[in-house]
Amino acid sequence: MKRYLLLFLFVIFVVTPSAEARIYLDINAPTFVQIPIILAKWKSADKTSSPFSEKVYEILKNDLTLSGFFKVIDAQHLPPPLREKEGIPDMSSLQEWAPGGGEILLAGETLVESNGLDFKLTFHLYDLVDQKHLVGKQYEGPLQTVRSAVHRMADEVVLQITGERGVQNTKIAYTVRQGESKEIYIADFDGANVKRLTQNQSINLSPAWAPDGKKIAFTSYLRRNPDLYLIGVDGKNLQLFSRYPGLNVSPSWSPDGKKIALMMGMEGKSDIYLIDTNGGNPKKLTKGYGNEASPTWSPDGERIAFVSDRSGSPQIYIMARDGSNARRLTFEGSYNTKPSWSPKGDRIAFCARAGGHYDISTIGTDGSGLRSLTSSSGNNESPCWSPDGRYIAFSSTRTGASKIYIMNDNGLNQRGLTSSKGGEGSPAWSRRFD
């Protein structure tokens, strides 16, 4: 796939960041104030390609807005003398940007090589409060990889401001209802590049990325039984791999990619099982008479959170990976389902019913610090974490039809992923692709 020509994309450090890196935004705080960042107009170094620099500018602006960490000040909203200022400023002129109202300045320029096939992007980031240069980088590559290059640039800006890279180069798989069928789609983090992965007119459910980001496990009713399949992210190599009688649903890959936890119905009710990635060696982990559902691994691969109604109502439980030491995690409310374990390890997101609505909550793995992140605006379901544990994707019916939304893990900055008509559900977040 052309998008993965990124191997040919070179990053050149123009200036190395200072050794005493400062964290501008503590994203681990329960609430934070967005950092005001000025996006100066980008310069076209080759004069002929201003639509190209405008495209780069728009992708970058969107990425920084979507990150939720910034209050982006667009060049068009700057006072007149600053509005037209373009390209890389020199250090002595930084104070001129004071009327812009930003604490950080991002400036850059584009170049389309004379062969018309390759580009060069250069950006610099400045601290306007301390009058300091923070970082500068250059990206080169074939034109079809520009979107990925800008995402990497945005990741770098997020790293400088928050101390951790962003997730602009990630993808989200999800289901879309189409009449009686449900197909699996994939979109970029910014909602671009929407692609249909399955096209079989059957019911396809619960996509789950393999840790290597190359395959997706999902359930399909192609054989009139909910069986598990594997498919390449290019939509090729469909492979049936778990077809025990009854349920083979809700796959969750172990972090090392060697096992899959799933729901199976071999004994007439749903239990949590472990299988090998070729479908062999099924091992039942849950005991008793409850309905057991939705397994999710801890990032260290030692524990599994899941849903059980053994107490009379569906609640979240945690057990060791061999099925021992199961303990109940949630006690508030009478319907808590679909847990998703944060890649940081400390919290679990889940879907809770309150007052006839479904909302997304998170809770510490020790049962403390319960937080509700969506507040009864339609039904909010199926939470899943970004690979850096700073965002949660979920489905919501807040505008009528069910659509995928993304929010920061504190519930701020909720926004729709795509501009589709709806019918979307079951988001699953990939690893970083660079």
Partner: protein, 184 residues
């Protein structure tokens, strides 16, 4: 023994033979057997008609994306469930008895019980609930004498609602166990 006695015995035997060959008695024996035959014939006709009716009631159905066809019959009725429950409602026992009677009569039938849920709650938990509803229904049919080998189960969770509405009327219809015929 005297001659008289011989004559008496002779007459008694003759009388006995006459009695045995009595046409009236033969008539009395044949009358109920003809009635039974007619009743059996009527019964067979009724059965044939019922079978024809049942066969007529089978409507072939294609499932998008799934190979092969299955059949649905209005005579194999749905049962319904309470929210987040999978117990058979006492009032639905009669429906399952009728379904079981059909399955015991037409032993070449293979059926699949589909467990369905309403749209509320997550996809996966509803799949677990649907699995239970289908299996509870199967167990009930088996307890009524249906061969377990002729009944399979499948859970569709909330993926195949009968009524697309977003209200209690629609939800009540959608929480159901539905029977399809996979072989006849």
């Amino acid at each position: 023994m005297t001659k008289k006695s011989f004559i008496l015995i002779f007459f008694i035997l003759c009388f006995g033979l006459l009695m045995m060959g009595c046409p009236k008695k033969t008539m009395m024996k044949e009358e109920p057997s003809i009635k039974q035959e007619e009743a059996a014939k009527a019964e067979r006709a009724k059965e044939a008609k019922a079978k024809e009716q049942f066969e007529k009631s089978l409507v072939a159905k294609q499932t998008p994306g799934v190979a092969g066809e299955v059949f649905e019959s209005a005579l194999l009725k749905d049962i319904h469930f309470d929210f987040d429950k999978y117990d058979i409602r006492p009032s639905d026992g009669a429906i399952l008895k009728e379904n079981a009677a059909l399955l015991k009569k037409y032993t070449n039938l293979k059926v699949q019980i589909e467990g369905h849920c309403d749209e509320r709650g997550t996809v996966e938990y509803n799949l677990a609930l649907g699995e239970r509803r289908a299996n509870r229904t199967k167990d009930y049919l088996v307890s009524l004498g249906v061969s377990p080998d002729h009944v399979s189960t499948i859970s569709y969770g909330k993926e195949k609602p009968l009524d697309a509405g977003h209200n209690e009327t629609a939800w009540a219809k959608n929480r159901r166990a539905h029977t399809i015929v996979t072989a006849k």
